[in-house]
């Protein structure tokens, strides 16, 4: 059987910066914090997209153990092939254990390079490429020394995009958003850029922040995505926010439409038109329709008054459909009960006045759902 490998030189010559730290970290947690900080800095500079999975950021871990209180360094090993933060954390734990076991058994830790297999959760000593590597380093004669003047350094400094800490403070001040929100938004340059671009269009920073921190992060998590993977445009998010603010669509519809924006970057104005999702704002017509629905469903009304709060959902659903001229529930919902299930997933508090009629209640609910 032919044991062949193929070589692809597309990657050969791609520029790398290698950052070598001092052995200052003491746990997987600190390692992850360091990597996240580095990643954020480099991304903020636009120097790299730093994706561990894709290989644009690679981390080799040098690890040794020693007794607490000792100031001597133990023999360290190097671990490679760590493609995710999870793998890094596992590898650190695994190697720490392995080295401790060896020491406790009175054996030596061998200085070597080990390859971590995250599936097996085990590391293997790598076959060395050459025995006792002597790289015979010497100055590259085909390249001349690089002379970096003070002026050049100043120029780079002045060109540096605003770093995270500055941005965070600025957001709090300029847009009046809370520390917690600002932290999340500035946690990634992509997110921060999206925030500012969207705010520039619709001028509603707090709403933008909510949409990013809320729905966007939720959908990212569901799909295992990083902020760098987001593909929707600030224009469409801004349009959506304006639509919701103007009362053209209600919050439930807004969330559905946002999902489309998130996945396919659709134009929400067009989408709402095409799918007839506009909220009808003619209060007179609404009251009339609601009154009719109430009159037609005495049982539901009685249930609600008897303490079954969810019964109002059926009435709400029917009112909405009647407004649209629909007689059937939409999108696979299985009738009034189905509507109830979907719409009442999240707990909601409706501000209610003592003088609110039943119809008022329905109208308030409609605004939310």
């Amino acid at each position: 059987m032919d044991d062949t490998s193929l070589v692809d030189y597309n990657r050969s010559g791609v520029p790398l910066v290698e950052i070598v730290s001092e052995p200052d970290m003491r746990s997987a947690e600190e390692v992850i914090a360091y990597l996240e900080k580095l990643r954020m800095i480099v991304q903020y500079l636009g120097a790299s997209d730093c994706k561990l999975q894709e290989g644009s950021m690679r981390a080799d871990v040098n690890l040794s153990v020693r007794e607490v209180g000792s100031d001597q360094f133990g023999t360290r090993t190097e671990m490679k092939n760590l493609n995710s933060f999870k793998a890094i954390a596992h590898a650190i734990e695994g190697e720490r254990q392995r080295q401790i076991e060896l020491i406790e058994e009175g054996k030596q830790v061998v200085q070597e390079t080990r390859r971590w297999d995250d599936n097996k959760e085990h590391s293997y000593a790598m076959r060395s490429k050459e025995d006792a590597q002597d790289y015979r380093y010497f100055p590259e004669p085909d390249l001349v020394p690089i002379v970096i003047s003070d002026e050049w350094i100043e120029k780079i400094k002045s060109q540096q995009p605003e770093l995270r800490t500055e941005k965070l403070e600025r957001y709090k001040e300029q847009f009046d958003i809370p520390q917690y929100d600002a932290e999340i938004i500035t946690g990634s340059k992509k997110m921060a850029d999206l925030f500012e671009a969207t705010t520039a269009i619709c001028e509603k920073p707090k709403k933008v922040a909510n949409w990013l921190i809320g729905e966007t992060f939720r959908l990212m998590k569901d799909n295992g995505m990083e902020p760098e993977d987001l593909t929707f445009s600030p224009e469409n998010l801004a349009k959506l926010i304006d639509l919701a603010e103007a009362g053209t669509i209600n919050s439930s519809v807004a969330k559905d439409v946002f999902k489309q924006i998130f996945q396919e970057d659709i134009d929400p104005e067009k989408y709402v038109e095409e799918h007839g999702l506009k909220m009808v704002n003619d209060e007179g017509a609404l009251r009339e329709t609601a009154a009719k629905v109430i009159a037609d469903n005495p049982q539901a009304v009685a249930d609600f008054k008897g303490g079954k709060e969810k019964a109002i959902g059926a009435l709400l659903g029917q009112t909405m459909r009647a407004m649209k001229g629909e007689s059937k529930p939409r999108n696979g919902e299985s009738g009034a009960a189905g509507v109830v299930k979907i719409k009442f997933d999240l707990p909601v508090r409706i501000p209610v006045n003592g003088t609110d009629t039943f119809i008022d209640l329905i109208l308030k609910l409609r605004l939310i759902y």
């Binding site: 790398l16 070598v20 200052d24 790299s48 080799d60 100055p139 780079i156």
Partner: protein
């Protein structure tokens, strides 16, 4: 009384820079592409080829160095790291050993154990190697064998 052990960890992080072209030639760095289509005599180590440094690489490296509180080495140079391996077209990698572009910096982190400064020893520029792709047929064949064994 069981001994308590402390883990001591250092990291070497490689970052692929987002320049449009490679560090020593004008080939595209775009991800993907059919194998060996973003190549030229320089990045395939052809005889008589010579490297020419991409200025943007230096500027990114400087920027990262400055953002991590490093001192920039105002006269720095490249060195050859010699070793034989097929993903290394000239069998040497152009890197920096003696005078790396940035040194003695730090990054502040916050974790469960509090705030801390992780010191950066040095930061240097270098070229990436090619990619070795192991025979697909080999891999497939192996998995078929494994399955057969399981069934027995």
């Amino acid at each position: 009384m069981a001994k308590q052990y402390e883990t001591v960890i250092g990291l070497e992080v490689h970052i692929e820079l987002a320049t449009k072209t490679k560090i020593f030639c004008g080939c595209s760095t775009e991800f993907g592409g059919a194998p060996n289509t973003h190549t030229c005599p320089v990045c395939t180590g052809m005889p008589g080829s010579l490297p020419v440094l991409n200025k943007q690489v230096v500027e990114y490296a400087m920027a990262i160095g400055l953002a991590t509180n490093c001192k920039i080495t105002q006269v720095c140079k490249f060195d050859r790291k010699n070793y034989f391996y097929p993903d290394n077209p000239q069998n040497y990698q152009i890197s920096q050993l003696y005078l790396p572009i940035a040194r003695d910096g730090y990054v502040e982190i916050e974790s469960g154990s509090g705030k801390k400064k992780v010191r950066i020893h040095e930061m240097h520029m270098e070229e990436d190697a090619g990619k070795l792709v192991h025979d697909e047929w080999m891999i497939l064949h192996l998995s078929i064998i494994t399955e057969a064994v399981c069934h027995l």
